[in-house]
């Protein structure tokens, strides 16, 4: 575990300032959000909850997928593979770095909301939800980077192609309750749905969530486990091809 933390520390020093991380992690949710709210009249607590879900999603999926292709390109990976750490440890390190980034940036919409008069009704559930979601999305990010490429742009394109549609099916802009049956079915497949639902519960109050809180949390945990197992399996296979 100390070794995973060492890897996370290294990732934080190197990758937080990289262009693609900042662009995809911070700027794209901001613009997506602005584009959405312009000219509409929606309650502020509804918006903040949506923004928060989206921010965790974009920031947590922005660091983890960059690491593997960059280190393939810069030829650091062979050294790492020769050290006494398993692929799982390396990936946990990458996830931790991504989680810290996601959680830290998520404070911005929370503070923004508080400044605009939003009250956080269930702060502990909110924090738990954000941390859990950050882990879940970071692990998801690793799946994007499991193709053995050294091109960060390929990975970014792939992840964007999946990330943007997910935003639209996850009940961020339209409450899940108002979706059609199809829309609901689709939304239930996206992990983003559950964290957004948790945010609504924590910010807008007890009646605004669509799923029960326990279900939201369990869903995030299940997605995390699936993504993690898949990421380890896929990276184990792709690592030798990167050398």
């Amino acid at each position: 575990m100390m070794r995973a933390y060492a890897i996370a520390k290294k990732d934080m020093r190197i990758y937080y300032l990289k262009g693609p991380v900042v662009i995809f992690g911070v700027l794209s949710p901001t613009f997506l959000f602005l584009a959405f709210i312009v000219g509409r009249d929606l309650p502020i607590d509804f918006l903040i909850a949506g923004l928060l879900g989206m921010t965790v999603f974009f920031t947590s999926t922005s660091v983890s997928p960059v690491v593997a292709p960059t280190e393939t390109q810069s030829r650091n990976l062979e050294r790492l593979a020769a050290s006494p750490v398993s692929i799982t440890t390396i990936l946990i390190g990458d996830i931790l770095a991504s989680v810290f980034f996601g959680v830290a940036i998520s404070f911005i919409p929370v503070l923004l909301g508080i400044a605009m008069g939003v009250t956080i009704i269930h702060p502990f559930i909110l924090i738990l939800g954000i941390v859990l979601a950050a882990f879940c999305f970071s692990a998801m990010g690793l799946i994007f980077s499991s193709t053995p490429t050294s091109m960060t742009s390929t990975v970014m394109m792939l992840s964007t192609m999946i990330k943007f549609p997910l935003v639209f099916i996850s009940g961020i802009f339209i409450p899940i309750g108002e979706l059609s049956l199809w829309g609901k079915a689709l939304a239930s497949l996206s992990p983003l749905t559950y964290i957004t639902d948790l945010c609504r519960y924590s910010i807008q109050g007890n009646t605004s969530n669509y799923y029960p809180v326990v279900l939201d949390i369990s869903a995030l945990i299940i997605f995390l486990v699936i993504f993690m197992v898949a990421a380890v399996k896929l990276h184990e296979r792709s690592l030798p091809k990167r050398l």
Binding site: M2, R3, Y5, A6, I7, K9, K10, R13, I14, S74, R75, N76, E78, R79, L80, A81, A82, S83, P84, V85, S86, P240, L243
Partner: protein, 309 residues
């Protein structure tokens, strides 16, 4: 003698290409073991399997008694690795790269700092310790990569072509360090395609070509084993006519080496007389003249040609 590396029947196949083909060898404690072979011989593939970076297709590897397939973490803990084409993290300083390695190998903080200072001193990089690797020259980068491999005080150090691409001075410095590390008791596994490097550093050399080991022995033993011819190397102040020289009966074979001619023979003495006559007759001046016994290069050429067939 204690074996620190045992390799049995090691094989790696890349889509039908036998990169490493059923090789066997042992490395004993405290020796410098050389892996000498031309490009594409399978040196890097072998080292990657020994260091647990890739999985063998077939065969067993034991590192200080640990089977690398079953106990990879324990085996890796005991070794230092300098891969052929690897980098330190260029965005981090020399110091941070060293401490990162220490973290990966679970070296306690205090010990790590002491070691990092000692290694930076040894590699003459102490005053650059806070500079980012980005700004280092190639030789300095290679020194840092070797220092990184030593942060865990490994019992075995793997070096894959550590001096390739370096200038003469940096290469010599790295060879000096390898010798020093070996004197301090480290077992060293070194791959190279420089004959002189293998000749100078290694207690034993394995010659590998097309994934097969052609021979393993001490450099001098290898030279004796191929028997072979002595040679006279000569260079003239003007280009010489090879065809005329080859009519000298004692010369068995002639090879051009840069501005020198290598004349293979059993009778170096009489060749020298003939060369003097030849240069007088053709109005040439001899610039250099050496007689040599077989070199590791001769061994190498003989053996790699044999295996190649």
């Amino acid at each position: 003698m204690q074996n620190v590396i045992t390799v049995r029947d090691l094989t790696k196949n890349y889509n039908g290409l036998m990169a490493v083909d059923h090789i066997n060898f042992n490395v004993t404690k405290g020796e410098v073991f050389g892996f000498l072979g031309p490009n594409g011989a399978g040196k890097t593939t072998t080292i990657r399997m020994l260091t647990g970076i890739i999985k063998p297709g077939f065969g067993q590897i034991s590192i200080m008694g640990f089977n690398i397939a079953r106990d990879p973490i324990k085996a890796k803990q005991l070794m230092g690795v300098v891969p052929e084409m690897s980098n330190a993290y260029i965005e981090l300083s020399a110091w941070d790269n060293l401490l990162f390695m220490a973290d990966l190998y679970g070296v306690p903080k205090k010990t790590a700092r002491q070691r990092a200072e000692a290694l930076l001193g040894l590699f003459d990089l102490y005053d650059r310790k806070d500079h980012k690797i980005k700004n280092f020259s190639k030789g300095m980068k290679q020194k840092i990569i070797i220092a990184m491999a030593l942060m865990n005080e490994p019992d075995i150090l793997f070096l894959d072509e550590p001096t390739s691409g370096l200038d003469v001075q940096s290469a010599r410095l790295i060879r000096d360090i390898v010798r020093k590390l070996n004197k301090d008791g480290k077992t060293i596994f070194l791959s190279t395609h420089y004959m002189e490097e293998a000749n100078e550093l290694c207690n034993r050399v394995a010659i590998i070509n097309h994934g097969k080991i052609a021979a393993i022995d001490a450099p001098e033993q290898l030279k004796i084993r191929i028997g072979g011819l002595q040679r006279v190397e000569v260079s003239f102040n003007k280009p010489a006519d090879i065809s005329e020289l080859s009519s000298i009966p004692e010369i068995i074979n002639i090879r051009k080496k840069g501005d020198k001619l290598a004349l293979y023979t059993n009778e170096p003495g009489s060749i020298i007389y003939k060369l003097v006559d030849y240069s007088r007759a053709n109005n040439l001046e001899m610039v250099t003249l050496h007689t040599l016994t077989p070199s590791l290069e001769d061994v190498f050429i003989t053996l790699t040609q044999e295996v190649g067939k």
